[in-house]
């Protein structure tokens, strides 16, 4: 069975929710949202999900082709102020796509370069990242693994707390921070290396360790018994087709590359 790189990433990203139990799963962006939706429809039906607006749903809406919210499977009202009541309880796992991630797992969606008074590039602002990162689990989704994203120094604006001893608040331990997995177009990583170092968990088919390291601005540990990222199951692929009927997942990565590279990677 053939599958795209986007579908491989969605499959890997859906697995971050497998052992979460009954928590609010929030995927920001089309592929992360599709991943959370696939998880709720397959490996973890206990997950909770919103309609990206103001209701919790007993079954996720499609991520493409939705014409109206009328008739959706509402479970309860879940306006934005109530989302904070839920997320500050800790019962949430967000899958988000920051513009920068550093060696501590700190991330940035606010601004690039310049100063606080006048950034070179204004992005979104910190949004809910500070509160999310200190109150509940977070995973990251990175469509283009590069040194622009995985920066050498600290993030230009540290929007979310990570495993940085220098910034650790009084009374906290590094293990209080809960960064789960990082799904990129090259590999799956976590922060479970020595001293919460970033660590490669699996490589996507045809990707080498060197390629990941060349595109990462900091040192990476490697998990024992490094494996290849598993291919999406046929069930996952049919759920993706059902939940994304307009196939927008084919438009999220440049040129929609296949999940298994057609040509071998360049030799060293």
């Amino acid at each position: 069975m053939t599958f795209s790189l986007a579908e491989l990433m969605v499959s890997a990203a859906s697995r971050v929710f497998d052992d979460d139990g009954e928590v609010l799963a929030t995927g920001i962006g089309l592929l992360p949202r599709l991943a959370a939706s696939v998880a709720m429809r397959s490996s973890n039906p206990a997950l909770m999900m919103t309609d990206s607006q103001s209701f919790l749903l007993s079954s996720p809406n499609p991520v493409s082709g939705l014409k109206t919210h009328a008739g959706q499977a509402n479970e309860n009202w879940m306006g934005f102020s109530r989302v904070f009541d839920n997320l500050w309880s800790g019962a949430r796992h967000a899958l988000v796509g920051p513009s920068q991630i550093d060696r501590f797992g700190q991330s940035n969606i606010s601004a690039l370069g310049g100063t606080y008074e006048a950034p070179k590039v204004q992005l979104l602002g910190v949004r809910g990242f500070p509160g999310n990162s200190i109150r509940h689990a977070n995973s990251f989704f990175v469509p283009k693994h590069s040194r622009r994203v995985f920066v050498e120094g600290e993030c230009d604006v540290v929007c979310s707390i990570g495993y940085n001893p220098e910034r650790l608040p009084k009374g906290y331990e590094l293990s209080d921070i809960d960064i789960r997995q990082v799904i990129t177009d090259l590999c799956v990583m976590d922060f479970q290396g020595p001293g919460f170092q970033a660590r490669i968990r699996s490589l996507h088919p045809g990707v080498t360790l060197e390629e990941v390291r060349d595109n990462t601005g900091f040192e990476l540990a490697v998990i024992d018994h490094l494996s290849e990222t598993p291919a999406p199951s046929s069930d996952q692929l049919s759920l993706m087709a059902e939940l994304d009927p307009e196939n927008l997942r084919a438009k999220q990565l440049k040129d929609n590359p296949p999940g298994v590279r057609e040509a071998p990677a360049d030799a060293e």
Binding site: D51, Q53, L87, R135, G162, R167, G171, Y172
Partner: protein, 290 residues
């Protein structure tokens, strides 16, 4: 008490240097007719508190703003608000950048008469490093440190509701009232624009009365302005205007605020609505589906 007023009269309480909170969220249910009335006024040096969209972008671009207290300024489908981006990158405005939830806590603290609300939100991030006015304090009850999110008292709150009585009983029929109740309660003075005016009997239905999120004594002025949220949405009456937001972005990029104002602002709201296709066109805008 009849609180019905024109936008100009209702906003005459706003003086230079005041702190103004604006309800809604990004491109959704923003009191844009009130914002446009501010754009036509000579008020300046405002401090804005908002879950920002084009309201914040336009006021910054027009030179009305000294400081913005924000967690994001975004139009959702256009993630980066074009005018706010220009204002930030040119260093034209001062900012206090906080988490979305910190803003909620700051509004609640102001509403409840508390100087601050303790929270872990912001710890370990640049939100605390960049905002020296936001203190981190020890707890009398445990050994951790906590962010003391200061109250965000507002001189004036501007909110758009679906409909209201002339006495200020406001209904928000949209699926989410966002933090509008906290903007209203954090403010010394509140101005609510509405699409429709209704009789008190409208609220006899308990299901309708449940869509009232603050009491009428929180409201000082009601401005009747059908289509007044445009180009943001007033769900279920109309959606946000994607085409106009794109035109807005193009005008800001090509010629800045003046290009947009020359093309659209007009001398009053009626002229504005004519410039964007008329009230019927606004009220026909489809609701977004996510």
């Amino acid at each position: 008490m009849n609180k019905l007023a024109s936008a100009e009269d209702a906003l005459s309480v706003i003086e230079d240097g005041m702190t103004v909170g604006i309800g809604g969220w990004g491109p959704r249910r923003k009191p844009m007719a009130l914002v446009r009335a501010l754009l036509r006024s000579d008020v300046r040096d405002l401090t804005l508190v908002a879950y920002g969209g084009a309201d914040v972008g336009l006021l910054c671009a027009a030179g009305k703003v000294k400081r913005v207290i924000f967690a994001f300024v975004s139009l959702d489908f256009m993630p980066l608000e074009p005018a706010f981006r220009q204002a930030r990158e040119s260093g034209a405005i001062e900012v206090t950048e906080i988490d979305e939830g910190m803003m909620l806590l700051g509004l609640r603290a102001a509403a409840w008469g508390s100087p601050f609300i303790p929270t872990p939100v912001g710890l370990g991030t640049d939100v605390i490093r960049n905002a020296p006015d936001i203190k981190v304090v020890d707890s009398p009850y445990d050994d951790k440190e906590w962010v003391a999110m200061p109250a965000l008292p507002l001189d004036v709150a501007l909110v758009h509701a679906t409909r209201a009585t002339t006495s200020g009983v406001c209904e928000i029929e949209s699926p989410d009232h966002y933090m509008d109740d906290w903007f209203i309660r954090a403010a010394g003075h509140s101005v609510v624009s509405v699409d429709d005016i209704v009789e008190p009997a409208h609220f006899a239905d308990p299901a309708v009365a449940r869509r009232v999120y603050w009491e009428r004594n929180c409201v000082n002025s009601v401005v009747h302005q059908p289509g007044g949220a445009h180009p943001s949405s007033s769900d279920p009456l109309y959606g946000f205007d994607v085409a106009h937001f794109k035109a807005y972005g193009q005008h800001i990029a090509d010629g800045g605020y003046d290009a947009w104002a020359d093309a659209f602002l007009g001398a009053d709201e009626s002229a504005y609505q004519q410039s964007v296709g008329g009230l019927d066109a606004i009220q026909s805008l489809p609701l977004p589906a996510y």
